[in-house]
Structures are given as structure tokens and as C-alpha cells.
Symmetry: C2
Subunit: 298 residues, 2 copies
């Protein structure tokens, strides 16, 4: 078909609201212009920004992303994997709400797979992950840059991968003023930890927290004990979750893992793999620090 | 093919990890066993529970749900609609983060469409929506049942559909002790509103709030003004968002719209339509009240 003819047919089809039969197109080209995204993050707080980033990279109007929700359930995950493969997607992005490495979703799959946010234990797989240690270092450096010297760290469970990575990076960057406090990823734990730090008598001028909820709890605990944030104690959170950083008093400085950027990179890497240039191993992306009132110099 | 033969082929196929060619199956049966869900809720807080409910109703292992994110963008929405239709989904669920009626997603579509959480302005369309007025009435009745008599209402923007419906239902159920206060859906507004109620001198023993974030702000504002919640003032929120109700001090009584139930009903109605029995008009589902410490009797 000549280009002009093709264009005229396309225009006429558009005017008629004609819809391409995907099955027919796929039989001709071998491409479905569809990417599947399998997530275990039923909360959506992590998976949705990843999805948005992936869509931006793939380009609406050119490729579709279908999100499938596996709910941390291996059987459901395998079911969705088979469904996506049977519908001949061009590639798959696997994601979840923990950065810890996971077993590969399948072996010898007929389409490329890229892991986003989480990583695969198989070094031949490509994983796009946030550099959480970099994020922790940025938090500590920001506190040092704003004149803080006696820094404590309050974070999530001791066995949690992200808690470990962030705590180790913080401790490597500065000698912490108190032992790391581990607890839940909640505001209640943050409030309790603030009380522990104060009653322990440590002479602190800053607290770096493993997530924004803990940081908000610490802020409340300090305020209710009569300590001024940021006047006496500066605070940094992690995640840059809008609901938390804006509601925190004062507004919370936080580390942003750039989930949309991770989704975008994962989609770009997946596109390259679909086009015959697969990547292998981890691709780490830096974090960025978003300063707000809780670390202001007064 | 005889049933035994079919079974043996199926078993052998399973052992080999054989994947059914969906395009081929779809050409034979006319069914793709796939439902598309188009959401405008990029936050995910509303769409993910709806998705989970729909999946539960459709049954994992039998039908797949592909979530597509239209981001409140009509062009993107039409693109995804065409993509899903070209991939021959059996039906479509349209959802969003506002309950207000919207223009239909398309006319004379080749597959059934059901609206979930939001509704369509076309009365022939089927919409599964929460009965927000019922939720507001439950909140007021719970406050009356626990001995409260002088109830104020603090809620979101005056032009917001949900704020209007909930405020009207509350005012119809009890004579409010103060004019309805409209503001943002934020904690900051809740704190400010608490100050306004206190300085206004209204003799209140309860505040019903339009969402959980406002209620949490009111709780903080009251506590910091030395008022005991629930001893002096009881509090009810709306949404039953775990992050807010658990972190609120005291834990927040709230109205739950049962988003999973809405997703489940929408999927059931869609399945019936796919099987030739379409429903029309709105289907409203009741809310439920989840009592916590903030309305405890002391």
C-alpha cells in the first residue's frame, strides 16, 4: 500500500471511529503494543506512580499498560503472568512494595521482563531500583549542611530490607548520637521513639527517620514535650508522601525515591529489550532530597 | 473432541507450561475473559479497593481485570477505551475518585459498561454508587445514640458533590449546633475549623467531619485547645482510611463506603450484562459505621 493511500485509509477510519482489530494486527506484525504490569502492592501508593512513569515513557496513544494486581499471592501472580502471555503482551514489568530482591517471576519467558522498585535474585534479570543508601546519605548530608551535628535515626523493623540499608548508610555517613531505634513504620512508633530519645537524655539536634509516618510521629512527640522543631531539633523523613509531609507540623523535609522516574526507566529498558537490546543486572537511580520547614535554619 | 481427550490434552498442556493463545480462543468463542477497568483516580486510594472487589467477584483464574489509568484526561480515556475495545474485552468498568455524575464514556459501545463509585448522567447506564447520604445519617445517628446532642459539621469545598450530599443528609437528620463549615479536604483545614468552632463559642459535644483528614485536624485542634476527645467532644470522620483513622488520637470513628463491595457489585452487574441481562440506572450501596475511641462513652 502506498503511503498516501495508507494515510487516507487511516483518516477515513479515524472519522468513522473505526477500531483496529488487535488480534488481526498482532497476527500481522507480531506486536500487540501492550505491556503488562504485575504488582504485589495492593495499597497502590507505590504502584501507581510507577505506572504513571511507565505510561509516560511508553507514550499514550502508542502503547497501553495493563495493570494486574497479584496481591502478594504467588498463585494469583502466576495466573496473571499466564494471562498476559496468552494475550501476547510485548513485555512485562514486575513491581511490588518492597525493594528486597525476589525470586524471578518465571524462567525462559517468551517476552522481556523488567523489575521495577523490587529486584530479581537472578543477576541476568534487569531491575530498576532506587538507591536507598544514596537517599539516606542525602538526608544526613543535608542535616550536616544545615549545621546539625548530633543526629539520631529512628526507623522500621530490624528485619526489613529498606530499614537495614537506610540505617547502615546513615551510620556510615556520620557517627550517630544514639543507637538506631527500630519499630513499626507508624506514627505511633515515631511518637514513642521521641519519648525514648528524650528520656534517654541524648543531646540531639536532629532526627533522620526511616519513613514519613515515623517522622510525623517524632514531630508530634517532640512538640508535645515542648521541643521546637526545627529550632531545637531538625527532622527528615523518607518517601516524600504528600499526605504526610504536608500535614506534618512543621512541613516535613523528606527523601524522594522518584517512583515515576523508576517507572519511566523500567519502561525504557523494557522497550529496548522488546527491540532486541536487553539490559541485565540492576540499574540504580538516585534519590533527591526535598527540603521543607522541618530542617529550616532559624 | 471427547471430554476425556480434552482433559488429557489439557493436562499435557499444563505439564508443558503451555499457554492458550488468547487470540485463537477468542476467535472461537467470541469471549476474551478479560474486563477492562478505566480509572481517573491516579491516587489509587479509591481505585485499588474497587479493583480488588471486582477481581473477587470475577474470580481469579477465570477472568482478568486490566486496570488502565486515564488520569482525568478525556483524550487518554478515549485512547484506552479504543485500546480495550480493539483487544476485545468482554466488558468495561469505569471508575473515578468523585461520586458526581459524569458524561458517558461512549455511545453505542460494542460491550457492556458499568460505572463504579462515579455514575453516568445517562439514566440507561448502570452505575454502582455509595449511598453517601446514608453514611452521613449513620454518623449522626451514632452520635445521637451515644448521647451527643449539639453536633457541628465540618467538611470539604461547598461546590464538591460529596460535601453537599453529606452536609444535606446530616442537617436533615438533626438540627446542627452551628452552620456547616466548608474548606479543603485537609488536616490543616480541620485544625483551623476547630479553632473557629471554639472561638465562636458554640457549646458543642460532637463534630461530624466530611472526611478523615478533616476529622484528624479537628482532633488535633481540640486537643491542643485543651478539649478532651471523646470526653467533651466526640468525633466522626468519613472514608475509614486506615492511615488516618489509626494515626488519629484518639483512634477515629468513621464511615466506610465499602469500596470493595462497590467493585464487587459492579463486576457482578457487568457479568450479568455480558451474559445478556443488563441492568439500568443507579444501584446504591449502604455505608457502614466503624466505631472507635473518638466516640466512646466515658
Amino acid at each position: 500500500m502506498r503511503p498516501e493511500t495508507r494515510l487516507r485509509v487511516r483518516q477515513a477510519a479515524d472519522q468513522l471511529g473505526f477500531v483496529v482489530n488487535a488480534a488481526a494486527r498482532s497476527l500481522q506484525t507480531g506486536r500487540t503494543y501492550t505491556v503488562g504490569m504485575i504488582t504485589t502492592d495492593t495499597i497502590g501508593r507505590f504502584s501507581i506512580p510507577l505506572l504513571i512513569g511507565a505510561e509516560d515513557a511508553l507514550g499514550a496513544g502508542q502503547m497501553s499498560v495493563f495493570l494486574c494486581d497479584a496481591r502478594d499471592d504467588p498463585i494469583r501472580e502466576q495466573y496473571y503472568l499466564r494471562t498476559l502471555l496468552s494475550r501476547k503482551v510485548d513485555g512485562i514489568i514486575v513491581t511490588g512494595r518492597r525493594t528486597q530482591a525476589r525470586t524471578p517471576i518465571g524462567a525462559e519467558l517468551p517476552v522481556p521482563v523488567v523489575y521495577a522498585f523490587i529486584s530479581s535474585t537472578d543477576p541476568r534479570d534487569c531491575s530498576v531500583v532506587p538507591d536507598e543508601a544514596d537517599g539516606a546519605r542525602r538526608a544526613i548530608r543535608h542535616l550536616l549542611d544545615t549545621g546539625r551535628r548530633r543526629i539520631a535515626h529512628v526507623t522500621g523493623p530490624e528485619h526489613h530490607h529498606s530499614a537495614q540499608v537506610r540505617a547502615a548508610a546513615a551510620a556510615a555517613e556520620v557517627e550517630l548520637a544514639a543507637p538506631v531505634l527500630h519499630g513499626e513504620w507508624t506514627e505511633a512508633w515515631g511518637r514513642q521513639a521521641a519519648g525514648m530519645l528524650l528520656s534517654g537524655g541524648a543531646d540531639l539536634d536532629a532526627v533522620f527517620c526511616g519513613n514519613d509516618q515515623i517522622a510525623r510521629g517524632v514531630a508530634e512527640g517532640l512538640r508535645e514535650a515542648g521541643r521546637d522543631v526545627p529550632g531545637e531539633v531538625a527532622l527528615v523523613g523518607f518517601d516524600n508522601w504528600d499526605v504526610m509531609v504536608d500535614a506534618c507540623r512543621p512541613a516535613l523535609t523528606s527523601v524522594d525515591m522518584d517512583l515515576e522516574g523508576i517507572g519511566r526507566t523500567a519502561a525504557e529498558v523494557l522497550l529496548a529489550a522488546i527491540n532486541g537490546s536487553p539490559a541485565h543486572g540492576p540499574i540504580t537511580r538516585p534519590c533527591r532530597l526535598v527540603p521543607r520547614e522541618s530542617t529550616a535554619i532559624r
